[in-house]
Amino acid sequence: MFKQKTIEEVKSASRKSSSGTTSNAFYNNPRIRGFFYQIALIAGLLYFFGTIIGNTLANMEATGIKTGFDFLGAAAGYDVLMSLISFESTDTYGRIFVVGFLNTLLVSAIGIFFATLLGFVFGVAHFSHNWLIRKVALVYVEIFRNVPLLLQVFFWYFAVLSSLPGARQSLSLGEAVFLNVRGLYMPKLIGGDLSSLVWIALGAAVAGIFVLRRWAKKRQELTGQQFPVLKTSIAMVILFPLIVAALTGFPFTVEYPALKGFNYFGGITVIPELMSLAIALSVYTGAFIAEAVRAGVQSIPHGQTEAARSIGLRENKIMSLIIVPQAMRVIVPLLNSEYQSLVKNSTLAAAVGYPDLFNVFVGTALNQTGQAIETIFMTIIVYFVVNMVISFLMNRFNNAVALVSR
């Protein structure tokens, strides 16, 4: 029935065009038509936005709501739980914006790192020879992919991290690292006069690795000899700064966290809000990445594995040298959108009170100032820009892993 209709319509369409006279009329010219469509769209959009802006201004006028960005310079009057830059309750809303932005970047970066790690481990585990590992990978993906992230954030925060011991009964590791319900406390290195030299050495080591990789690759292409790049790199990163530090007489003091009064002070503190959000984001996004990795690996013809086996590569080498690099072509575009949704999902910080941009700005600042439009737009633009940057970087990466035809 469907097909018949099509044919009828085909006939009528051809009849129309063969009857001829109308087809030359100006309104049948696709370019002119297109031009008018676009004019109409512009007019519609202008009308739409004009109405909205007009209404908004009228509404704000009528209800006496303040407008403008003056509030950014006003003192916030409330405190923020965690801040990468110094912050006092007398600081401005503008500074709160920066604090929140940095916190968002931090949790997103941690989340992206661990989500990628988990995703690749469990994605590859799907092809393991151990039945138990295969099933664990399957259960992981099916549970964490199919439960709302909000519930997962609650779970990690209220069920898992809340059951850690209290501050005075902390779990400790050599009196240097402490873990309790209030977070993870780690010692901090405080640099002395010559400490910058050590950091320079570290930088030099990292730069050296890039040079080494290039050279090793070139040599392999020319002579077929392999060079243990990974081992050398690790040795370089550890030894270089260590030697420099020894030469300069270890210009560091270590600050250990210590229990004073109610809390541990000093050192580096990772608050449970950050931990639970980062864990939830990593585990949730990791499950999606695992699926992407699985799809990528499955897209590689089995012949590749057989060919690799026939030249005597070991199983783990087949995965890392043959399959995964080819699968990356499928995986990277998927990674791009997973990373972007991770950044967007980090707004769930509000559920556990991690002071990310959304929480401190659209949450508290909006509530205190009542300036909905300004705060929401500023926040939206930040997320938009961050996602554009991720998209840009991932597209560059995608071009790098794309099939190069020689």
Partner: protein, 338 residues
């Protein structure tokens, strides 16, 4: 392709269920037959929903009182549960006729948000709750401690002021709902929990072992909570203001839901004025003469509402404290009803 914009526009137009915000909220409510009242999404004793979906609480009673005064039926209320963030927008846009959602009366809100506070139905203040084994007996011993606070409340500002004033430091751990705040406190994430005194009582009951926690004596802020209306409609403002005052006045005159009919016929002149058998009080508000009679018979006087929702007849067991009538040593005081 231009259809797209047209379609979008027409969808927008179609969804605008016209409910005009006119100056005369009273006429609106009367013609609609129900009062739309903004309440909290869930706050023990103040606005809470039971398992059958029925709303109750001190703030909810304020809505019911206004509905009884205006429409003669305390059940003719449409409750709109609102978050702290959207409450003022909801009022400004006309989505609700009045807001009764434990909102603290502050200067900034009263003057910059286009709203009016119609009085105070609960005088609250932020306090601290700590676990007994912490060995703290006063808030001044809390230097360097962690605080569990509910996000987006004025407590957040009050506590910052208090600690700065006393030269102490603290870390604020904020939670989205009061239940989560309690869980955070119970797990030991923070040393003390700060909230309005009325909520501390509710939170303490929710603890696995309420006997382990104590509420410290300090009250660090003034939190007068009351109903709110839009600016620019004085008649409506008066109705809400005097509905609250009628409940307070009724307690002063010892008029209760049980004896109101009797008092209306046989009471003293003040009783009769309040209950509408004498005088013009209802007419001046644009309401019927038995406006306050309806409030008292259907909702009760302030004392009845208090005891039922947060006082001794409720699980919260809050004492009247400063929320007692001025005759009993509190600060509740209704302007003269004449």
């Amino acid at each position: 392709m231009a259809k797209k914009a047209l379609l979008t526009a027409s969808i927008l137009a179609a969804t605008m269920t016209a409910g005009a915000v006119q100056a005369a909220t009273l006429d609106d409510v009367k013609s609609r037959g129900t009062l739309t009242c903004g309440v909290s999404t869930g706050l023990a004793g103040f606005s809470q929903k039971d398992e059958n979906g029925k709303w109750s609480g001190l703030d909810v009673d304020m809505c019911r009182a206004v509905a009884a005064a205006v429409l003669g039926d305390s059940e003719a209320v449409q409750y709109k549960p609102l978050t702290a963030k959207e409450r003022f927008t909801a009022l400004a846009s006309g989505e609700i006729d009045m807001l009764s959602r434990n909102t603290t009366w502050t200067h900034t809100r009263d003057t910059s948000l286009g709203i009016n506070f119609a009085g105070t139905n609960y005088y609250d203040g932020a306090s601290f709750m700590v676990m007994k084994d912490l060995g703290v007996s006063s808030a001044t011993q809390l230097d360097g401690a962690n605080a569990c606070i509910q996000a987006g409340t004025s407590t957040e500002l009050a506590i910052a002021d208090y600690f700065r004033e006393n030269g102490m430091s603290y870390k604020a751990v904020t939670f989205d709902t009061s239940d989560q705040t309690r869980q955070g406190f119970e797990s030991g994430r923070c040393d003390f929990l700060t909230s309005d005194g009325s909520q501390l009582a509710a939170l303490r009951i929710g603890l696995a072992n309420p006997g382990n926690a104590v509420i410290l004596p300090e009250v660090i802020s003034k939190e007068p909570l009351g109903p709110v209306v839009r600016q620019g409609d004085d008649q409506w403002f008066n109705i809400v203001k005097w509905s609250l005052n009628a409940m307070i006045e009724a307690e002063e005159q010892k008029v209760t839901s049980a004896n109101a009919s009797d008092m209306k016929a046989n009471g003293n002149p003040a009783n009769k004025r309040l209950l509408g058998s004498e005088g013009e009080l209802g007419g001046n508000l644009g309401l019927s003469a038995d406006w306050a009679y309806n409030i008292i018979t259907q909702v009760g006087n302030y004392s009845e509402s208090f005891e039922r929702n947060v006082g001794m007849d409720s699980p919260l067991k809050l004492a009247r404290g400063i929320n007692a009538s001025w005759r009993d040593g509190g600060i509740l005081y209704a302007p003269a009803m004449r």
